[in-house]
């Protein structure tokens, strides 16, 4: 048989079923391949050129194909421009979507099976749904959920529970808000306060730096510094022993408050902790967005003074405190009245309306000293202005304000009385020699000892006289007319002199703060109308003996406090906090923000402490 191509054209039906097969014979040893209908082999594929390639017999059992269009075709997966085929090896040539399979035919003829490869893919209506196109919803959900669980809970939790000092602190993301400036240095170290997981911040954490316990305070200050605090911590005392405090505090008013406290206690979140009132991580109520946090933790008053100090005996049967449900029911002052003077004086609390008598061991008639027409006044005038007198005595002649102006320095005999009550007992070489004050034995030793000057002229200055030495001088000094006799209660047992122990009260009302520096309290500066001078409260001019307790009663405070400005120009509030504070009931509650944080920086704090300790 001549060299010719036997074509077998196989067309697959799109809808399936048996393919259509057609046979055709090509005359001649050459055949053209292309898309155009004039070709010997027509391949209806747009990727094929109208005249794509030529195929011819190139020898016995050999067929060569070459491109006539510059477009390639594929043999065994390779793109080629021409190829020499050995028909015996049944080669396959691909043009676009068509597959030409060669096989030996009868004689020299070659069989070519032309098959269209896979038909084009048709879209299904599912393509309209997003699910056909977009990443898996479920996968995304699990990945996101697991990621957040891992990063926001598991990793921080493992670090919190099992590491002491982790290098990274993913638990910072748990912080519900920034700390106040005072505590900001601990911002990154959650565990400095939240010491134990699932346990509410306990007082021990706060007291590490803030305890006022004398034994622990120095370490507390040192610890604060070591932990990096830029500020000196305020040392804080309990209002009362903690166990009593718990018993004394009633549940808050209102159903909500009661439920809140009971639920919190049930959930191991006690409401009697430092952190129950001093709130961190929280903007102040009504705080602005730009300045949500203050210098110090936000103070939340859980209990008012009145809520505990009403019917207190019902909750705390052993208490000696009198109920003070409001200002009008504030009990009369019960000052500490000295019953026995001496180095370890004894006091009792006695109500002022019982006219208590103080036993300070001293003989001192205020009236005598303040009488403008009396001898004391005359002597003061005689002492003259250069000595600081020149006029009848007034309170300030003897009572000197302390550095703050809010209180007074303790009376010192030499400084405050000595200008008139001389302790001089001799003149040596033109210089006066004074008896030492405050210790009888030293005074006696001075009078009897070698330092005793030779008898000479009298140096009597002021009360007290001596004109003898040794035993005579000793007896004279402690007898009527002697230097000590006027003020001290003296008794003799044979030749031995005894002076009654003396002690002046430091503070009559240590459970309340009173500020003498307020102009209306007789302090310096301009007082409002109705303000008081010393004599308005302290009836010293009418007091003939030092046993008189010269502090005023509460009614005096009530002249202004609790009044309206319509009633008196000097009217002021009558709030418990005016005279008491929670942690230090003996002092007024500091104004909010006092002392300012900047004054608590270490250098400033140390300086002001040093100044406060400097006498005078």
């Amino acid at each position: 048989m001549a060299q010719e191509f036997h074509l077998k054209l196989i067309t697959r039906r799109a809808e399936g079923g048996d393919p259509i097969v057609r046979d055709r014979q090509l005359e001649g040893a050459e055949a053209t391949i292309g898309r155009a209908s004039g070709n010997d082999i027509v391949l209806a594929d747009l990727t094929i050129d109208p005249r794509h390639a030529r195929m011819r017999f190139s020898g016995p059992g050999r067929v060569s194909i070459e491109s006539v269009s510059d477009l390639p075709f594929e043999v065994d997966g390779k793109s080629v421009q021409s190829v020499e085929l050995h028909v015996a090896s049944r080669p396959v040539v691909t043009f676009g979507a068509y597959r030409l399979a060669f096989a030996p035919g009868y004689g020299d003829a070659v069989g070519v099976t032309v098959t269209r490869e896979a038909d084009e893919q048709h879209a299904s209506p599912g393509i309209f749904s997003l699910q056909a196109k977009v990443f898996g919803r479920r996968n995304m959900a699990w990945v996101l959920g697991a990621g957040i669980f891992l990063l926001c809970l598991l990793v921080p939790m493992i670090l919190v529970l099992f590491t002491a000092n982790p290098r990274i602190r993913p638990d910072e993301q748990w912080s519900s808000g920034p700390l106040s400036r005072a505590h900001a240095f601990m911002e990154k170290d959650c565990k400095s306060c939240h010491a134990n997981a699932f346990v509410a911040v306990r007082d021990e954490a706060c007291l590490t730096c803030h305890t006022a316990d004398a034994a622990k305070a120095p370490k507390a200050l040192a610890d604060a510094r070591r932990l990096g605090s830029p500020f000196e911590p305020r040392l804080i005392s309990e209002h009362a022993p903690h166990a009593e405090l718990i018993k004394a505090a009633p549940l808050p008013d209102g159903m909500g408050g009661k439920i809140n406290v009971l639920v919190q206690r049930a959930l191991n979140h006690p409401t009697d902790r430092c952190a129950s009132c001093h709130i961190e991580h929280n903007p102040a109520k009504g705080g602005s967005a730009s300045a949500p946090l203050g210098d110090k933790p936000k103070l939340v008053v859980v209990q008012t003074c009145e809520s505990c100090h009403s019917e207190l005996k019902m909750r705390l049967p052993n208490t000696g405190l009198i109920d003070t449900p409001d200002w009008s029911k504030h009990p009369a002052f019960r000052p500490l009245v000295m019953m026995q003077a001496g180095p370890a004086p004894k006091f009792v609390r006695a109500a002022l309306d019982t006219a208590p008598q103080e036993h300070n061991g001293l003989i001192f008639p205020h009236r005598l000293h303040l009488d403008p027409m009396g001898g004391v006044a005359r002597e003061a005038i005689a002492l003259g202005r250069p000595a600081g007198y020149g006029a009848p005595l007034e309170c300030a002649s003897c009572h000197r304000r302390d550095a703050t102006g809010g209180g007074f320095l303790p009376i010192e005999m030499e400084r405050d009385c000595g200008d008139c009550h001389s302790l001089a007992f001799a003149r040596v070489g033109g210089e006066l020699r004074n008896l030492p004050h405050g210790d009888v034995s030293k005074a006696i030793a001075t009078l009897a000892g070698g330092a005793l000057p030779a008898p000479g002229g009298s140096d009597r200055i002021g009360p007290g006289a001596f004109a003898a030495s040794g035993a005579t001088a000793y007896r004279a000094t402690f007898s009527r007319g002697g230097a000590c006799y006027d003020c001290h209660t003296i008794s003799w047992s044979g030749d031995t002199v005894r002076l009654a122990p003396t002690k002046l009260a430091d503070r009559y009302l240590p459970r309340g703060g009173f500020n003498h520096a307020v102009p209306e309290h007789g302090g310096p500066g301009r007082s409002k109308t109705g303000g008081f001078a010393c004599a308005d409260c302290h009836r010293a001019q009418a007091s003939d003996k030092s046993e008189d307790v010269l502090i005023p009663d509460l009614t005096k405070c009530g002249t202004c406090h609790g009044r309206t400005t319509a009633q008196i120009a000097a009217a002021d509030d009558a709030d418990c906090t005016t005279c008491h504070s929670f942690h230090a009931p003996g002092a007024a509650t500091p104004k909010p923000g006092q002392p300012p944080l900047r004054t608590l920086r270490w250098p400033e704090a140390m300086r002001s402490r040093a100044e406060a300790w400097t006498p005078g």
């Binding site: 155009a36 990727t47 299904s124 393509i127 990621g147 519900s176």
Partner: protein
């Protein structure tokens, strides 16, 4: 008269197909609104009386937080509930209605729970995710309420299957018409046949941005082809131009259909993953609060 009444009843019954939004005369909308009003009133009554800021740490905050967390877990259970088919009182429709309205009430509950305190922390993350879930849910409500109608309006009487069949038929025509063309002509047809993307990415579907559509480009290139010498080819080119125009029209219709479908389905691609993220963040929020109490 009786008959007239019967007619009336019949007509009412036909009208009473109600969606989940109107279920039982907005019963759940009313319940949710009532919850919100009570919570708002309590908040503003209590907030001024609270000693502390009324945030999550106050007793009111704990109460609102517990309510919100419980609600979130219940709302998330819709995913489980919808796979269980029941009827009657607690039908899926009732459940979805409650899901929608109670979910919306969470905006009030959870926002008041925060006490308007926000920060870069896990707590605000949980809040943000919750708001994202709610916002995507609102989109979903809007989609379900309006889009099915628009889908219908867009396709007219043509079904999606018919659109695809039309495209296939046009492609076949295009292919056959292009067979006699020379290489350039064939390439124009191939451009449209091989590179036209019906759907495309999520964003493309959502935005309907098909400016670089291959069929559109094919039409431009077709117009720029030099006039062929053979009348047969010129005739084919003219027919191809018509087929490409028709194909563009069908593509536009199908793509609009896809866009609306994308809106209809797209919100769930935020709603569901954000819900999972929210549940994780909520767990972290609650556990961390009690860890660092």
């Amino acid at each position: 008269m009786t008959q007239a009444g019967g007619h009336h009843t019949e007509r009412v019954r036909q009208r009473t197909h109600e969606g989940f939004l109107r279920h039982k005369g907005f019963r759940w909308a009313q319940i949710a609104a009532l919850v919100c009003l009570v919570v708002i009133a309590v908040y503003f009554f209590v907030a001024v009386r609270l000693a502390e800021a009324p945030g999550g740490g106050s007793w009111l905050g704990y109460l609102l937080g517990t309510m919100s967390a419980g609600l979130i877990v219940w709302l998330a259970c819709l995913g489980i509930r919808k796979r269980v088919i029941t009827a009657g009182h607690y039908s899926l429709k009732a459940w979805v209605s409650a899901h929608v309205y109670l979910g919306l009430s969470l905006i009030v509950l959870a926002t008041l729970h925060t006490g308007f305190q926000f920060g870069w922390n896990v707590h605000t993350l949980a809040y943000g995710l919750m708001m994202l879930v709610i916002a995507s849910g609102v989109l979903g409500i809007w989609a379900y309420a309006t889009l099915p109608q628009r889908l219908h309006g867009n396709r007219g009487e043509t079904t999606r299957k018919q659109m695809l069949e039309a495209l296939q038929s046009l492609d076949r025509q295009l292919h056959d018409l292009a067979l006699p063309l020379d290489r350039e002509g064939a390439q124009v047809a191939r451009l449209s046949l091989e590179e036209t993307e019906l759907g495309g990415s999520f964003w493309r579907r959502l935005t309907g941005a098909y400016g670089d559509c291959a069929t559109r480009r094919a039409r431009h290139r077709l117009a720029a082809l030099p006039a062929p010498a053979e009348p047969r080819q010129a005739d084919a080119l003219a027919k191809i131009a018509i087929v490409l125009e028709q194909k563009s029209d069908v593509l536009g219709l199908a793509r609009r259909q896809m866009q609306i479908t994308a809106f209809l389905e797209g919100w769930l691609f935020v709603h569901i993953p954000a819900t999972f993220a929210l549940l994780a963040a909520l767990t972290a929020h609650i556990v961390s609060v009690f860890t660092y109490w």
